[in-house]
Symmetry: D2
Subunit: 299 residues, 4 copies
């Protein structure tokens, strides 16, 4: 049994904190919207009243917030974790942020006597609810070993991929592949519909061959029905494409497909689809092809 503070109870953080409580750990949850603690409380956790309250006595501090500045705010901000938490605490950052920010935070954490793992996840809302996330972990080997039992509570594929920042690097690669695959499937769907093929049957047979993917399995219903309730929002994928293209540039790696997809994600956002699931990249293919996109929830 571990004393856990869980900062950030959104679409992803909420079910993760609940799983940890259900597994018998003592979990104090904190979110800007206090009503989000309800599920955690129902599972036996408690709603912290402040960050100071949340991290008091916590051996492990989990963070699951949207972007780099949010993590910086939670950790190194005034009245943040670095000021308030007990020395020696293990900080697990599940957020998807810039690898260089992670590395700076990890150095700072170490200097202050904390341990920090970057542990971004893949698998979406479904993966979080089913405790079936992929977790890509960067940091020290023994910190990973210490955190592994907790990772196993919320994830199915848990892998230590390298030193601090590596988890974020792998997550960036993940987002490149996912966006490219969604775009490719979207182009295929509009192409098939233009030829009057039985698209539902076609996606079934495509899924059975080399074109098969988790994207195709999980998103084909969204695409066929033009129902783009998130899921994973285009706004967040836009943020992530910024990370991956900047990091590739920094490393001198040329990613023509990644760069083009980043533009198409940006276009989706510019067209008001930022709040839709990323499978709504399909709507961009329709716009390019002169087809009036069927309205999604936020369109």
């Amino acid at each position: 049994m571990t004393n856990i503070a869980f900062i950030g109870l959104g679409i992803m953080g909420n079910p993760m904190a609940v799983h940890l409580a259900n597994a018998g750990h003592t979990v104090a949850g904190l979110d800007r919207s206090p009503e989000r603690s309800a599920a955690l409380v129902a599972a036996g956790g408690r709603a912290a009243s402040s960050l100071a309250d949340a991290v008091k006595g916590a051996d492990v501090i989990c963070v699951m917030v949207p972007d780099s500045p949010d993590v910086q705010d939670v950790l190194e901000g005034e009245n943040g974790v670095f000021q308030l938490a007990e020395t020696g605490a293990l900080i697990i950052d599940f957020s998807s942020i810039r690898p260089d920010v992670t590395q700076q935070l990890a150095e700072q954490a170490q200097a202050l006597g904390f341990r920090l793992l970057d542990a971004p996840v893949s698998g979406g809302e479904a993966g979080a609810k089913n405790a079936a996330l992929s977790i890509m972990v960067g940091g020290a080997e023994d910190d990973f070993a210490a955190a592994k039992p907790l990772f196993d509570v919320v994830g199915k594929t848990v892998v230590h991929v390298g030193p601090s920042g590596s988890g974020q690097t792998v997550k960036a690669a993940n987002q490149l592949i996912v966006a490219a695959n969604i775009q490719a499937v979207s182009e295929a769907v509009v192409f098939l519909e233009a030829y009057g093929v039985d698209t539902k049957a076609a996606l079934e047979v495509l899924g059975g061959g080399l074109a098969g993917s988790t994207v195709l399995n999980q998103k084909k219903e969204n695409m066929l029905s033009r129902s783009f309730e998130p899921g994973f929002r285009i706004d967040l994928h836009h943020k992530d494409m910024g990370i991956v293209t900047a990091a590739a540039r920094e490393a001198g790696v040329v990613v023509p497909l990644g760069a083009l997809v980043a533009q198409l994600v940006a276009s989706a956002r510019a067209n008001g689809d930022g709040g839709l699931d990323h499978s709504a990249l399909l709507r961009g293919v329709e716009r390019l092809s002169g087809l009036e996109p069927a309205n999604g929830q936020a369109g």
Copy 2:
């Protein structure tokens, strides 16, 4: 028990013909390289001495050859199937060719009293050997029903996707998705290596999340070891990208990702990688990034 002629005993056709013979059918095989009939003969089939010999008495004529002109040659060429086969025969074209060529051939076949299904496959050499192909079938419903038992001998996911030509259209979409996904995974691999991440571990965890795909499962070993023995050759994927971009243009569907990937496949070919497996698109990312590509078999 069906009398079957099987024209084209290459990497794909050979195991397919063998499966049909093993299933108890009478199979006469024909290939420009007669020694390729050995496996079929060992499985109880026979090596035909000519097309006339192959199609004599055949109820079903299977064709598995590389490109549109090859199929045209086999079917409508002098001393071709349309001249020599018995009226009423069912022709199954497993080749991946242009949808418009398929439609023309189907019309011609019907006028001459034949029935023609386009039935391109996905799954590669492994799929052919394991009788686990995805088969996307275009043509008349009752012809599909008649051929279904034979399809089930060589395939796992067998779907009738629409009228004549639809199989080829779906195959074109398949090739767009596959090439884009290989390219995206390739960019991710070079990116991860540039950051010194444990790439093998990274691909494992990527495979468990939303980035997971059949491409990632089947091709990651090739990529990690830079071992690009085909498999499915870049030369053939280049042909297929020509089909999909031309068909998209014809239909007024805009496929920016498909068009860019088509250029990158063309670049692989122009750089002498045409005989390598399509996972060798990785080498193109290395070239763009100024990394000397490790030599593949044909590189």
Copy 3:
């Protein structure tokens, strides 16, 4: 003084035929829309009643029609030039068509005792009206020499670029550069407007530096005022991008920018802008960026 038949009196052909008549040549014009001969007749030419009438006694036969099939129809069709014209006539094809079609027609022409030059032009409606066209000529050296005085009547920059088909190849390259430059300027304009820069002043200063171009000079007013009356229609540029991307593919030359621009031109057409001037590619950048494109004439 030369006896000239001029087939095709559209936006380009009309002023060219008039210039030839004004220069003292005997010009018989023919167009599907007979009223288009008015300007030529006013300039001292005559309106032919049929192709047979037009080419009777003609030493030189000029052709200026939209696409490859149109040229094929005029030349090798039933009651076409190859049937009706006097042996030895010099055929000058000003149309922009596929280089391979030109080569086939030239071979046929030679076999029948005709001489054929491919002489596509650049410079647009303004160039045609001002007799300031660039003319890129493929064919035999002595045929070029014979036609040079006529070229000089309608063009300013007249260059023999190689054997039969070379003119079309150069025109294809021309269209690649022009479309890419229009797209780049369009992206720049939307970018500048987003930042609230004085865009009119900006385009003036851009024109004075390394970004300067004929496109910028001729099209900036269209772009600033969103007034896209053709000029050169997107439908025709779409046809040309098909020629250049197919020819590049055939030659194994990789043109990533060309291929992407071809998709964006196709998108303009799919969005109903085919009848607008090609500077309306700007509207595509607006669409991608979520800005309601101001209506052009045909939008």
Copy 4:
């Protein structure tokens, strides 16, 4: 007659400072490499021994250094212009840097009693030598009016494009157009060579039509002879493409062509061509097309 300090006497700054001295102004030059002051001294200027020495008594301080951090260092660094210059001095920053950095520096300048214009230039080494630069100026109207006589000494097209930062924004747009046009011309050249056209003649005729541009005029010799001595280095254009793609992203403007060209510039750099003139993008098209690029100076 104005007292001018000129900081940065490289390829561009050197001839600009000389022109100002030749026009009768009192010019004190400073560069990290003191020998670069020779031409200025020969023209009647003087070599300053330090920044303090240079800016002492200067009414106008010109800056022409490579990148954002260099300008920040010169202006706001310890012993920088903001510390040492006389209050009220007019600072003209000719460097090409990030628009947001310019805006921050301008605010700081104003707070300290200085006036700052951003005045990046286009036209390259030739433009600097011939006093024929395009200068795109951002800042206050009256500061522009005050600086106009000096701009007219070094430039031919001098335009005030908006408030502080606007000059940099226009320069970013300039670099997008220039890179795209170089890439397009490069693709055209490799395409023409593949077809055996007389490329020199072809570029002449292309220059006379709608494909004509300053890039084509100034760079065609480099391209035909594969002689890529800078000129404007790919390393610097790479920096600029980073500025334009980031600024477009920030503004929500989608620039697919710009983003692709940025990748191709990055690829040139990754392949060791960073020190070559930007016309060496041609080498990238050759690499993509499997042609061994002829060696440039730095290749």
